[in-house]
């Protein structure tokens, strides 16, 4: 019943971002799990396109903020402005009060501004001058960033990376798809034609369904073996936290649903392990913070799916 909707979602986004179905499925799984998404890649790989497409397909109001080094917290959250008519200060809501917020190049802003956004993500509300303003429901942040090894960026610290359920890289398209891209028109032009596939009610039904996806004891055993491995192996500075473990199970559930299953199998865990764990792990000799990928491959390879003893 839910499956056709999800497949429609995937197809609609896939029509804009060609040849990236696995990433699209992961991104949808992330949003269905009510998680925030971090897209990371070099400029021009389709990050913005994907985030636009997702927002449109989900039929949600969205705002886009281009992060720059002089962006201030108030530019995101909003400011109080004196209204001469009522001679009161009125709060002008900032772009954060949207259902989908596209934070482009989040690592270009100063830590203070990043902090303001990440706090809003965690609390799902904004407090200005003693008043709390709830953010809309649903509320997603899709942030994009360039790899931190590029110049002039403020890398997000681990604690803030943790706020993102998944981090996805898009990568270069394969040559066949690229040819099609080169032949055709700019995908961004197509964005306008994208119609919403879901209603808000359907979205919240889908999100509720994620929790109903069955997770067996055997699967939890596997997840725990993975967690234990990251904590015991000397490859890592520190292992995955319990929160990371919960994120892993939640994402696996959501991904299983996207894959059209009512229960989670080890392959689901393996599929989401990279996006969920890469940005939370760092290697014992990792300087750039980008060894997570290699480490996750290592974990998948070394943790047995079937218990041996």
């Amino acid at each position: 019943m839910s499956q056709p909707i999800i497949e429609r979602l995937v197809k609609a986004v896939g029509a804009i971002l060609l040849g990236k179905e696995p990433q699209i499925r992961l991104a949808i799984a992330c949003l269905l799990a009510k998680g925030h998404l971090l897209l990371e890649d070099l400029p021009g790989m389709g990050k913005t396109t994907l985030s636009h497409a997702l927002a449109r397909v989900l039929g949600l109001s969205y705002q886009r903020i281009q992060f720059t080094s002089d962006l201030l917290p108030a530019d995101i959250i909003g400011t109080s402005i004196f209204n001469p008519g009522s001679s009161h200060f009125e709060f002008r809501k900032g772009p954060v009060f949207a259902e989908v917020l596209l934070a482009d190049e989040i690592n270009r802003a100063t830590p203070k501004t990043q902090g303001a956004l990440l706090e809003a993500m965690e609390e799902r509300q904004v407090t200005v001058e003693g008043h709390s303003y709830a953010l809309p429901q649903p509320f997603f942040v899709i942030a994009t960033q360039n790899p931190v090894t590029q110049m002039g960026t403020f890398p997000l610290p681990e604690s803030q990376l943790d706020r993102f359920l998944m981090r996805i890289s898009l990568g270069y398209p394969d040559p066949r798809i690229e040819r099609e891209l080169l032949k055709g028109s700019n995908p961004r032009d197509l964005l306008e034609s994208v119609q919403a596939v879901l209603t808000k009610d359907e979205l919240s039904t889908l999100q509720k369904k994620v929790d109903a996806i069955h997770v067996s004891d055997a699967l939890l055993d596997y997840v725990q073996r993975i967690l234990a491995y990251t904590r015991q192996s000397n490859q890592f500075v520190f292992g995955l936290s319990p929160r990371a473990g919960m994120a892993l199970v939640k994402s696996a559930r959501s991904f299983a649903m996207v894959q059209g299953r009512d229960h989670v199998i080890p392959e689901d865990v393996q599929a989401v392990l990279g996006p969920v764990a890469e940005h939370r792990l760092s290697g014992a000799r990792d300087i750039t913070g980008h060894e997570g990928e290699r480490l996750v491959d290592h974990v998948i390879k070394h943790v047995d799916v079937i218990p041996r003893r």
Binding site: A218, L219, H263, P266, E267, V303, V305, P307, R309
Partner: protein, 688 residues
């Protein structure tokens, strides 16, 4: 741009390998702690050199200074060796040996360029530390060695860490665990490992300045000894402890007098005890003596003594001699007969002349006095002795540790001018007076008394209990003991040296001596407690030698054969290993038994593996099924069916499983059926 952030490369040759800071700090600590107990034995310049080398090593670690050049190191090491040899005058003996070892240990620090060198220094630390046992085997040494041992092991662990900064607690914890785990094995090895005689004899005659009786006695010698609160020996009694006045612990006999100094009878001229001349008497005391090292051969006993448990010789002078000088603590069993009589039948001519020897001339006034007094008593030795003792008692003789210095005619000056003296004065003069009228007499050196210990049935005899008394050979009675000190200060005989002097001279030279603080009850109790622990340690551990081991083997095995010893040691070793294995097993219980579905699935994987399609450890069943189906298209249907069954059994919700076989209502039963189906399919599965 990247390079600007990186630290400049460490020059291995100049500054050595990048040692973790924790390991370096630990290494410095163990350097100091391993050498610390040896400070008294090495020349002072070596301690200075040690400080300099450590400073240099720190500067190298901080990359301020390079390692010294090869030539400088060579000069330093050779200079160090030469200095040690010059200081000790020999390369033999433990002192010089330890000196050379420490020199090598010291300068190795200056070429600790590689990790291997650092490990070598750690191993050397163990060795330097262990050499402390050549000099002391006390409980406190052992505790110290143990603590440093933990630190050295921790250093070794810290050196193996790859991170530059680790908390010091981590290696310490691991090391403590390792050392504690090794204790049971250590105990077994200590008590049971066969003790093979040394392949080389280490000359342990260290010529230390030991406090104790010497083989010559000048006036004032024993008085000096009396100022020392050091322990001489302990005696543990079975049954009754003799009263204080019978505790005349005999060390040796002084037979020769040169007018000033008494000389102990030479070991070589002493003939064995003449058993025929010895009458034992009725009473007997049985005890075990734990004797501190003395650098003499004398074994302290109450005469007449039968000694066992040590290779010893009972002599004609009623003293007992060990085979060689005692450089380490020993223990031995003694049976003593306090009512003995010896040589009642008579002395041989040689002895007779030996015990009448006097220097030619000198002390004329004393000789004169003796002759007159002897004549006045009707030439009766017994009455003469009596009169002398009464004379000591009645005249103004003072028992003191601070007698005036005596000039040439010591006996004359003492008896007729100063009249202040200690036991050696009184006994020496007494023997002199007897000899000058032709009565055979000798001076006996040893200890009188001993402090009873409230916790154990044993006596503590200290150096301040040192005493000298006289023995006189009387016709028909043999050798009879007389203690002239008793005539002057009866308390000395009845209660001991404390407070028995007639002035406050006792122990005046050591203001911090525990004896001074004896009156504080709590302190006295603490002192006795400490001694008791020391005593138990010595009794059970430090005095454990080949002899004791043989006794233990006899007790444990009955008949001692190499096979039985091997069986005992092997059996105990096996028992320890078994206990360890059990504890590991209990702490980490085996994982849950493999699920039946998993077992079946693994069998299925094995079958595929035999066809060349092996599942990688991290490969999920679905991925594997896809790959296997691609490789073996003929079996694709089977592979998919089995995988689907397995996945459903393991991961699907129960309703789904029930749905899988709608005719079954009971889910548990359904699981069983599914498993059965999986089993059948796996059994039937024959990939080709």
């Amino acid at each position: 741009m990247k390079a600007a952030h990186a630290k400049p490369e460490r020059d291995l040759r100049r500054h050595g390998f990048p040692m973790p800071r924790t390991a370096f700090v630990l290494l410095l600590a163990i350097n100091v702690l391993a050498v610390l107990p040896h400070t008294e034995r090495v020349p002072t310049w070596m301690l200075l050199a040690f400080g300099c080398v450590l400073l240099w090593r720190i500067q190298v670690f901080r990359e301020r200074w390079p390692f010294p050049s090869k030539w400088l190191r060579l000069v330093l090491v050779l200079g160090g060796f030469a200095g040690v040899i010059f200081y000790h005058g020999t390369v033999f003996g433990p002192d010089a040996g330890v000196g050379l070892l420490i020199t090598a240990y010291l300068f190795k620090q200056l070429e600790m360029a590689t990790r291997r060198d650092a490990f070598l220094v750690v191993i050397l630390s163990y060795f330097v530390l262990a050499t402390e046992f050549l000099f002391s085997r006390s409980l406190y040494t052992t505790i110290y060695v143990f603590l440093v041992l933990i630190l050295i092991t921790a250093t070794q662990i810290a050196l193996n860490q790859s991170e530059p900064r680790i908390a010091i607690a981590r290696p310490l914890k691991v090391s403590l665990k390792l050392v504690l785990q090794s204790i049971p094995l250590m105990i077994v090895l200590f008590y049971l490992f066969p003790r093979i005689g040394p392949l080389w004899q280490l000359n342990l005659n260290t010529q230390q300045n030991r406090v104790g009786l010497s083989d010559r006695m000048s006036p004032g010698d024993i008085a000096n000894l009396s100022r020392s609160g050091e322990l001489a020996f302990r005696a543990e009694f079975q049954g009754a402890i003799p009263p204080h006045r019978e505790r005349y612990w005999r060390a040796t006999v002084f037979d020769r007098f040169d007018g000033r100094t008494w000389y102990a009878v030479d070991d070589s001229v002493l003939v064995p005890l003449d058993m025929q001349q010895l009458e034992y008497g009725v009473r007997r005391y049985q005890y075990r003596v734990y004797l501190e090292p003395t650098s003499q051969r004398w074994l302290m006993t109450l005469p007449a003594a039968q000694v066992s448990g040590i290779d010893a010789k009972s002599t004609d002078a009623l003293s007992v001699l060990a085979q060689s000088t005692l450089e380490a603590a020993v223990s031995y069993d003694v049976t003593s007969f306090p009512d003995y009589r010896y040589q009642r039948a008579g002395l041989n001519r040689l002895d007779y002349s030996r015990y009448l020897q006097l220097p030619v001339g000198g002390n004329e006034q004393s000789r004169q006095y003796a002759r007159e007094q002897f004549r006045r008593q009707g030439s009766d030795p017994a009455r003469f002795i009596d009169s002398l003792l009464r004379w000591y008692h009645d005249e103004e003789f003072i028992y003191t540790l601070n007698p005036q210095r005596l000039g040439r005619n010591t006996i004359d000056e003492f008896l007729f001018q100063t009249r202040r003296g200690y036991c050696s004065h009184y006994a020496g003069a007494f023997v002199f007076l007897l000899r000058s009228v032709g009565i055979p007499a000798r001076l006996v050196g040893g200890y009188l008394g001993g402090e009873g210990h409230p916790l154990g049935k044993y006596l503590l005899v200290h150096q301040y209990d040192a005493h000298a008394w006289a023995e006189v050979w009387l016709e028909g009675q043999g050798w009879v003991r007389f203690d002239p000190t008793g005539a002057v200060a009866p308390n000395r005989i009845e209660f001991g040296p404390l407070d028995s002097t007639t002035d406050d001279s006792f122990l005046r030279e050591s203001p911090l001596s525990p004896e001074r603080l004896r009156n504080l009850a709590l302190l006295a109790q603490a002192r006795l407690m400490v001694d008791y622990v020391d005593y138990l340690w010595f009794k059970n551990v430090a005095s454990y030698d080949t002899e004791a081991q043989n006794r233990l083997f006899r007790d444990l095995l009955g008949q001692v054969t190499p096979q039985r010893i091997a069986a005992l040691v092997g059996g105990l070793g096996a028992a320890i290993v078994l206990v360890l294995a059990l504890s590991i097993l209990l702490r980490h219980p085996p994982a849950r038994k493999l699920d039946r579905a998993d077992r079946l699935y693994l069998r299925f994987c094995l079958k595929l593996q035999q066809r060349g399609v092996a599942r990688a450890a991290g490969e999920g069943p679905q991925d594997f099924a896809k790959r296997a189906a691609n490789t073996l298209p003929a079996q694709a249907a089977d592979i998919e069916a089995i995988t689907a069954l397995y996945l459903n059994l393991k991961y699907a919700p129960l309703q789904k499983v029930a749905h899988f076989k709608p005719q079954q209502s009971n889910t548990g039963d359904t699981l069983g059926r599914l498993e059965k189906e999986l089993a059948q399919r796996v059994r039937a599965f024959k990939p080709s």
